[in-house]
Amino acid sequence: MGKLIVNQDKIPSIDELIKICPFGAIENNGGKVEINAGCKMCKLCVKKGPVGAVEFIEEEIIEIDKSLWNGIAVYVDHVEGEIHPVTLELIGKAKELASKINHPVYCIFMGENIKDKGEELLHYGVDEVFIYDDAELKDFRIEPYAAVFEDFINKVKPTAILVGATTIGRSLAPRVAARFRTGLTADCTILDIKENTDLVQIRPAFGGNIMAQIITPNNRPQLATVRYKVMSAPKRNAEASGKISICEISKDKLGSSINVLNVIPKEKETGISDAEVIVAVGRALKSEKDLAMIKELAELLNGEVAVTRPLIESGWADAKRQVGLSGRTVRPKLIITCGISGAVQFSAGMNNSDYIFAINIDEKAPIFKVAHYGVVGDIYEIIPQLIEQIKLSREA
């Protein structure tokens, strides 16, 4: 909290000062320096500018009593009672954060006929699941869902609330944050917590080129959304622990001007352009039927199969699955190239992938120049074993 003050007499060169601001928010108004509405309060002008030229004046703030807010809560994301797996991932993270500050982990679950689904959450180490079960909550509609959330927060007073960055979460969390005039940080990729219960929220900013660490120092509850597959789900315990609390809310709070007319299941889209995981295969594949093992590996990793141009030319795969300059450019989180030598025409289409594993028998193959993990070996030996190993670890 505070503001920037410009001391005109301490500016040796206005042009130099203007250059410091990455947002172009410092203006020269007829020899007088002014800060315009483009200012993001990054305070670089204070830190990097001439001494005393721009000052940041802290305003005194009344500190809230953080000890009144207790527990880390997770919003249970679901459609018609089917719990979205991001929920379990957030429970895992919530447990980790809660243990650092010795707080309980809560779940808030709203819907219709969901009581037994709530029981299941007790196998993941949640201390208390708060269930709001009402016909008006059958489908996600913003007004009743926000009303229930408000009721929960007022009743339980959690210090932090984690929400999955799904369609529902991205709609509901901002609504709740605005209602409590508190902070919400979207799409956090790293979460931690300070001793004073301030949630440390790290997210990509400016199109992912920069990471920003964000806190909500004087407001509670603190809200954060996290995308699916960013955190890890905890193991299911055979024994249930914790308890279920059934909550009531008066019907007149559950009105809505929204009417859900129909819910249509979506056809699963497949394609390599948006795939997060790709298993790509090239000329080392000896026959069309051997594609089966590549497909099996891709399926085990929830990914898609991609190929190089020679395989398209021999008619073994659809042209839509070709990676490279004459095919598609892909940027998955993981790509495993199998028996691909890595001509530039291919690697230009995939070298921005986050993690590149390359399996090739020839140690000198150019693919190893772009790979993060180069595996010198025969795909016919390694892939079947890898498939077995993944299956085994799934069963364990």
Binding site: G2, P174, T182, V200, Q213, E381
Partner: protein, 262 residues
């Protein structure tokens, strides 16, 4: 029907780097443009307007030069526009931004439908629309992928969910945020560009608002604080693995496990 579109001026490029020595944010040039997602919101409004008539207004918040994006909206077909600009809005996070725009919207008079783009390319939060709706006390639907029907007192839309599509009817006044590709945005019209050359764009500052409590705007009205910015970790590993097939398999599997792919 009266429609209001929220638009934002964003940097023309997302190429920003942090100088690892000084920690200073480096931006290439100061080019700016309309947030590309807002073009879809604007096109949605134009399509609805072609069917049912009425007015299209745009609202934006930013420094004075953000008037440019309002002009651009005029050349596409918007009728009127206002810019919210005040030094006191500086340093606003999502909450303060949403509150500021909601005050501006109130100032602009009655609206049946507010349309926002899905998100901006510089903030990427997709939260301002829903937070504004809360401050305006109206319902909202996010991630709208299709307008099914515009009725007298309501609109029927398709909401995009991860595994389903929900057909939803929502009464006016309301706010929707639309997905990219809901409609193909039209190109600006040269004739309109000439027509609107001298058109005035209204400026609104804090003193025009209903709520003039400075503590609710800009940095003072922002509950979140950026503690630090830093370059993202990129995977700079370059490892070569040799060994027996069993050893290599083991290595791949354990790495994949570490990276949470298994």
């Amino acid at each position: 029907m009266d429609i209001l579109i929220c638009i934002k001026q964003v940097p023309g490029t997302s190429k920003v780097e942090v100088d690892s020595v000084t920690g200073v944010l480096k931006r290439d040039g100061v080019d700016s443009k309309m947030n590309p997602y807002d073009l879809y919101a604007l096109e949605t409004a134009l399509k609805i307007n072609e069917k049912v008539g009425g007015t299209i207004k745009v609202i934006s918040m930013g420094p004075p030069q953000a008037k440019e994006v309002i002009k651009e909206a005029f050349t596409m077909g918007a009728h009127d526009g206002m810019l919210l600009s005040d030094r006191k809005f500086a340093g606003a996070d999502v909450l303060a931004t949403s509150y500021t725009i909601s005050q501006g919207v109130r100032r602009m008079g009655n609206t049946d439908l507010i349309i926002c783009g899905k998100q901006t390319t510089d903030g990427d939060t997709a939260q301002v629309g829903p937070e504004m709706a809360e401050y305006l006390g109206i319902p909202h639907i996010a991630n709208v992928r299709k307008i099914v029907e515009v009725k007298d007192k309501s609109i029927v839309v398709e909401m995009d969910m991860p595994d389903t599509i929900e057909i939803v009817e929502i009464k006016f006044p309301c706010l929707i945020t639309v997905e990219k590709d809901i409609f193909q945005p039209r190109l600006p019209s040269y004739r309109r560009k000439l027509d609107i050359k001298d058109k005035e764009i209204g400026m609104i500052s804090l003193k025009d608002f209903e709520d003039q409590n400075e503590k609710r705007y800009g940095l003072n009205g922002s509950p979140t604080q950026v503690e630090r910015i830093f370059p993202p970790e990129v995977n700079t590993d370059r490892e070569m693995w040799n060994g027996s097939p069993a050893e290599l398999t083991e290595k791949i599997a354990s790495k994949l496990k570490n990276l949470k792919f298994i």
